[in-house]
Amino acid sequence: MALTHETLLEGSKMWGLFYLIGFSICVLIYTFLPSNRERFERAEREIFDEDDGPWK
């Protein structure tokens, strides 16, 4: 099969779509993974900790 502009185009359009879908699924899993819940809730509150110096 010759590597023409058209084949490259088809390929990139198709793989682009799969890439987008796969990527979205990964992001959704990461965001809603129950084991991450605590980590996110902690992150949300941590920034209010007022001790103004690096931790040791």
Binding site: K13, L20, F23, S24, V27, L28, Y30, T31, F32, R39, F40, E41, R42, A43, E44, R45, E46, I47, F48, D52, G53, P54, W55, K56
Partner: protein, 552 residues
């Protein structure tokens, strides 16, 4: 720079000496070419910094106790630089606006012609003001959210002073007539190479600091900063690939040709909007908004989803700048589709910010700083909605080439970028200088109303003039000839151009008020300071403030 160790000082001196030698080489090779002038500037700049470095070299060596505190000296200088560039860039903006109303304001000189001061404005505000604000706040946020001190004490200075050297070279070059003719990437090859070095240092510093974090999770604001740093590096390198005429000439030619060149340029251009003017400022939003409102972000998960949405979708949206061009139709469609999809993560961020404030509206009413941040989120929502709309091809047929685009730009630039920056600065300055509050709350209030009025006048003037322009250009008579000549449309613009210059002037005055207020806060007597806990730097002196870099 008082905290530098001997080793860091020596290394800094070596870098500056090498830079000075490069300056001499550029001056010698370039001679009368602009490259020669820039060589002289590089030389003077590095000698001035070398002087500053040496003048502190024989003091007492820094106490080891400094390592138990955050490293805030570069932040203090960065605040001063941000304000300097804000006033410079906006002054040039008002001047450019006035020139469009009264063209003789170029005084018949080449250096002050519109084509030269326009890039001086855009680079001055985007890179000078925006860039310094991003670097400064990122140093603050990364340390606080990681609970770690910056990884070393030299590279923050390389980043800060190196970046400002880039800004100086770029902007002085435009006045002298040097340009690559790529919007937002006008600076020539040697400035571009320098920026790559600075930017890689920035990236490495940021990652090293994150690696030292004591907090297990990396707070979302850092993701946005990191996306900003990383993507800007990629964009900058790809778009600026060029071959100079010779090493003795400022002029270069891009390696990209024809429609590829346009596509690369607007892939760069739009992502500059996305990652320079949006991602980093969203980082400010996600840190300073909860801090100021004293409420956690409405939904942390939503902030993660919108992060990936924005980073992923923006990458594909650039072609909406090239509707109805030689660019293949499907590429235009792709850009259009992704631009419309972009509205979802954009509004998710804006909504997340506004919902965070839900229940704290009394604070928004009383606190002008929080109101700056709230308005910024509002204008972010507005300009992204407008952007998605403008990206639809038939709408773009009307808006492209008109002042509507300029209106969209400044709804984003004044309403979003500048307002979030000032809101962040008013939160950061008292925190860094350990003051209880700003010198004057009234002046913050005055600034807020000047900024809001200025933005609204500017944006409404441009919406009106843009749509009128667009409609006049496409009005045909029954026998298919254009009804209006170009000069007719110019006359119709005249009142709007005056209004825009006036709105911009209000915004500029607001920035000057901010600089004064911050300067007075820094100078305010120790009575106004917070209780002196052991967290205070030993050698508390207000360095930086509103002082420009030595070479200016």
């Amino acid at each position: 720079m008082g905290q530098l160790t001997t080793g860091e000082r020596d290394f800094g001196a070596i870098i500056l000496i090498v830079l000075a030698i490069i300056g001499i080489a550029m001056a010698a090779a370039g001679r009368a070419d602009v490259l020669g002038i820039h060589g002289a500037m590089v030389l003077l700049y590095s000698l001035a910094l070398l002087f500053v470095l040496f003048s502190g070299a024989f003091g007492t060596s820094p106490s080891p106790a400094r390592l138990t505190r955050y490293y805030d000296d570069p932040i203090k200088v960065g605040v001063g630089l941000t304000l300097f560039w804000a006033i410079f860039g906006m002054f040039i903006g008002v001047w450019a606006a006035a020139q469009l109303a009264w063209p003789s304001l170029n005084f018949d000189t080449s250096w002050a012609s519109f084509g030269r001061i326009r890039p001086a404005h855009t680079s001055g505000v985007i890179f000078g003001f925006g860039g310094n604000a991003l670097i400064t706040t990122s140093f603050h946020v990364v340390q606080r959210t990681s609970r770690a001190r910056l990884a070393d004490q030299l590279s923050p200075w390389i980043v800060l002073f190196g970046f400002n050297l880039f800004c100086l070279i770029a902007i002085s070059g435009y006045f002298l007539g040097v340009t690559q003719s790529k919007e937002y990437a006008e600076a020539e090859w040697y400035a571009d190479i320098w920026l790559v070095i600075v930017w890689v240092t920035y990236f490495v510093l940021y990652v090293r600091t994150l690696a030292r974090r004591k907090e297990p999770h990396i707070y979302v604001a850092n993701w946005y900063y990191l996306a900003f740093i990383l993507v800007v590096a990629i964009l900058h390198i790809v778009n600026n690939l060029a071959v100079p005429l010779s090493f003795a000439h400022a002029k270069s030619y891009t390696v990209w040709a024809g429609v590829q060149d346009s596509m690369v340029q607007w892939w760069y251009g739009h992502n500059a909007v996305a990652f320079f003017l949006t991602a980093g400022f969203l980082a400010m939003l996600y840190y300073y908004l909860p801090k100021r409102a004293e409420r956690p972000i409405f939904s942390y998960r939503l902030s993660i989803l919108s992060f990936w949405g924005i980073t992923f979708f923006y990458m594909w949206a650039g072609s909406h700048h090239l509707h109805y061009t030689a660019l293949p139709h499907w590429v235009q469609n792709l850009g259009m589709t992704f631009s419309v999809m972009l509205l979802v993560p954009s509004w998710a961020s804006a909504g997340n910010a506004l919902l965070t404030l839900n229940g704290a509206w009394h604070k928004v009413r009383d606190d002008a700083t929080l109101r700056f941040i709230m308005m910024a989120a509002f204008f972010y929502g507005l300009s992204t909605f407008e952007g998605s709309f403008l990206a639809i091809r038939p709408v773009n047929a009307l808006s492209h080439y008109t002042d509507w685009t300029v209106g969209h730009v400044h709804a984003g630039a004044l309403g979003w970028v500048a307002m979030i920056t000032f809101g962040s600065l008013y939160t950061l300055v008292p925190a860094i200088w350990k003051r209880e509050r700003m010198y004057s709350a009234v002046l913050v209030e005055v600034h807020f109303w000047l900024a809001l009025a200025g933005t609204l006048i500017y944006v409404f003037a441009m919406w009106n003039s843009g749509i009128i322009q667009g409609l006049m250009w496409r009005t045909y008579s029954p026998d298919n000839t254009l009804v209006y000549s170009f000069v007719d449309t110019l006359l119709a613009m005249y009142p709007y151009y005056i209004a825009r210059a006036f709105g911009g002037l209000l915004f500029l005055i607001g920035a000057i008020v901010a600089a004064y207020n911050i300067w007075m806060t820094v100078r305010s007597s120790a009575t106004a300071t917070l209780p002196l806990d052991e967290d205070l730097p030993v050698d508390e002196k207000p360095i930086g403030g509103a002082t420009p870099t030595p070479a200016e």
